[in-house]
Point group: C2
Chain length 122, copies 2
DNA sequence: CGGAATCCTGCGAGATACTG
DNA sequence: CAGTATCTCGCAGGATTCCG
């Protein structure tokens, strides 16, 4: 699909899909967790904290499908499954970090604005 | 900002809230639309396209509360309400654009990965 | 240990109609 | 024109149970 015709802000549908992935509750947290290196299922679950097994499974599967993480199975006893960030996944994590930095930098300002706004509504 | 000391995923809660705002379906589109300058309610509605007035109202109100847009009322007949991006809002739009650029750049790769993945599942 | 399958719930979000 | 008020529905996301 011809991205070049895009006038600097016209989300061509596919873009907003990626955006929504970033906004989803767990994807970014999992990706960021994996920046530290390969990890196994319950390891990730422990590190992310608060995620249900169901959602971790879904998130990892989606990320794998998108080519953000690689899944490696070792048929030992007990079984081991390792998840590793691909270059694409790393790239996403970098971009997401910019956003996170922005959020961290302006969080106070935003909360302030909310307080003022709410006060005015009384 | 010293990200390196963060234990690999310590989203300070408020950050993920901002992230989810970015991922929400309309916020970014409205902000991007307003980059072109002040605009009125139905003007935004027309430009964004596909948004219901309900969602536009909600989105604008949230953005106003967060201090991203400023609302100016003119009691004419017919009434006019203008929405303008604040500096904070501009700043967000810039950051969001980086993400959108990333998304646009990797969209093809991701779709490719999905096709391969789905093919393997048969 | 690493999942899959199933059930349940709340909220995001659309459609529509009414108001000032 | 610029909203507010309802009603509704789909789906993200949680809890729980079962499987290899």
């Amino acid at each position: 699909m011809d991205v070049t015709t895009k006038p600097a802000g016209a989300d061509c549908k596919g873009v907003s899909e990626i955006l929504s992935r970033v906004g989803d509750k767990w994807t970014i947290q999992v990706v960021v967790t994996l920046r530290a290196g390969s990890q196994r299922f319950n390891g990730i679950k422990r590190r992310v904290g608060g995620i249900s097994q169901q959602m971790l499974t879904r998130t990892l599967k989606t990320l794998e499908r998108d080519g953000m993480v690689e899944r490696t199975v070792r048929h030992n006893t007990p079984p081991q499954v390792e998840y590793t960030l691909t270059p694409l996944g790393h790239s996403l994590s970098e971009t997401a970090r910019h956003l996170a930095d922005w959020a961290a930098a302006h969080r106070g300002e935003i909360e302030d604005n909310r307080l003022h706004y709410d006060a005015r509504q009384l």
